[in-house]
Symmetry: C2
Amino acid sequence: MDKVTRSPAMTDVARLAGVSHQTVSRVLNDHPNVKEQTRIRVRAAIAELNYRPNRAARALVTGRSQLIGVVARNSTLYGPASMLTEFEQAAADAGFAVSVGSVRELDRSSIGSVVDRHLDQRVAGLVVIANTASAMEALAEIPGDMPVVFIDGDPASGRPVVTVDQVAGARAATRHLLDAGHRTVWHVSGPTDWFDSAGRIQGWRQTLEEAGAEVPPLLSADWSAAEGYRAGQMLARMPEVTAIFTANDHLALGILRALYERDRRVPHDVSVVGFDDVPEAAYFIPPLTTVRQAFGDVARAALSLLLGQMREDFTTADHIVVPPHLIERASVGRPA
Amino acid sequence: MDKVTRSPAMTDVARLAGVSHQTVSRVLNDHPNVKEQTRIRVRAAIAELNYRPNRAARALVTGRSQLIGVVARNSTLYGPASMLTEFEQAAADAGFAVSVGSVRELDRSSIGSVVDRHLDQRVAGLVVIANTASAMEALAEIPGDMPVVFIDGDPASGRPVVTVDQVAGARAATRHLLDAGHRTVWHVSGPTDWFDSAGRIQGWRQTLEEAGAEVPPLLSADWSAAEGYRAGQMLARMPEVTAIFTANDHLALGILRALYERDRRVPHDVSVVGFDDVPEAAYFIPPLTTVRQAFGDVARAALSLLLGQMREDFTTADHIVVPPHLIERASVGRPA
DNA sequence: ATGCACGCTGTTATCGATAACATTCCGGAA
DNA sequence: TTCCGGAATGTTATCGATAACAGCGTGCAT
């Protein structure tokens, strides 16, 4: 009687190919010293049995898995969500699986518990989507020999970081509005503890100062359309406001509605530029000029930094910066 | 000389507590036959050494991991993205990690390779976010003894499925428009091969027929604002169109813009109802009446079905249906 | 011819947990 | 007192891979 067929192990392959299991292992790991002919025989046996190596056994003896852990804020924000899928894609191509661990808030204890879960799984490396300074505290929770890459993190952390050049993006947006003839540009920022926000504020301010334009007071918000709407209600009351740069597209959406309600027409009376280029941005009223970030490039850069660390035994503190670019649509015009 | 401190193993804990490693294992797995006093000693030793069990070793001997694989379409669509984070949260609470595998298209070969990657990882179970019939073909790629739950899949598949009651959601939306006094309701659907779309179409049609209202021709689209806009351009030209139900909020956004461009005011001239309740929907122009799906409930239901399968050895073909509900805002009014 | 290096392959130890079985200890019934 | 049963604990085998080392030809230098 045959028992329930369990999935074949290395020794089964070895027996079929007429070699030892160690030779099978060598074939699997592309070791040089295997005769071409046996290599072929082994591969044939693998195919015939539909053998797949047991990762748990491998992880046990080598001490490392083929899993990469991602720590991200629990949100459906366009940026982080895009990052995640792009990263998963890149990792899959490199033969790694991705385990996600989301957090409601990026405070130290939440991050600690997610990092813990990942360490439990013995991940081979970690990616932290660290948009706020508090997230950088995750460092404290991570053993020194664990490969880590931060996305959107603080370059000064001494750990590898991949970021989008927020300053350049904000400069392009602000510049674009000034070039259209506006005397100055108002800015509705994201939460000020986010690195993204900080960079965009900095780029906006720099550009105004360099152009000798007045720097209006900063309005800060979270990333939601709701807060954009609130900020918009104020801005709409001030006749001197003719150009607004918002830290993301959803804020811009809220602002567009507030302007609409007070009959300030876009772009005739007020020009608006967003950030992110969410897929719907082209269908706002009016279509939104915005800044697009290359999430795919960020993801691939992060993966390659991580793989680098996994190969070498030391940590290089690289910092890769990915440039964004302006997408021009109909929400910007010349001032009256 | 002390070597580089490797992370402690079960025997280290055992030595410190003065018991055998097997007793430690029993404490860890909450076996009944351990004296309370030793249990306490062991726990203390675990805490002192900051010991964490090696999942690879456990997986090796038990044959199952603490990993759940999710197969999802590679997209930043609100629905799937929300599902994923909600599911991850629920799984984490139950002590499982989640490995994501995204696909560009839900065709058989893409799904096959993602399922393969998950099998490589020896996942303990699979969740397939199967919005289209083609995704159900994934079944063929999955071994019969692997616990699987489909989300949004076909209840007729004979496998456990969790769905949102799309028909009921569409009925509520359509009913709401009829109740406002509209003679009939037009519908812009999602891709017709999605189960979600099919359900929403069915609910819409049923409600019209039951009310004795004319059933206008169906407009179908993908899920994007772009196609909503195109559909809107047509609908805006037809004076008899006073009420539109769209299969998601982004389609509605595109339609709102098309209506706006042709000076058909919402809700004065035309009423619009969406589906999803994306966070921005309250800030569209005007705020969108829509149908909210309880993704959290779906995720938790899916997890519990999966855990059920993992405990029992047989597959129960349950079908859990989660009701959606209507969120009333300003985009619906009485016809002129 | 001898010896040695190297290419190729096999043998054995090992990782860290759980499973199965063995042992000890204790209290209560005969 | 003796014996028995079950709770508490220990011992040994096992999962399936890689690492380390050992063995065996073969070719080439001496």
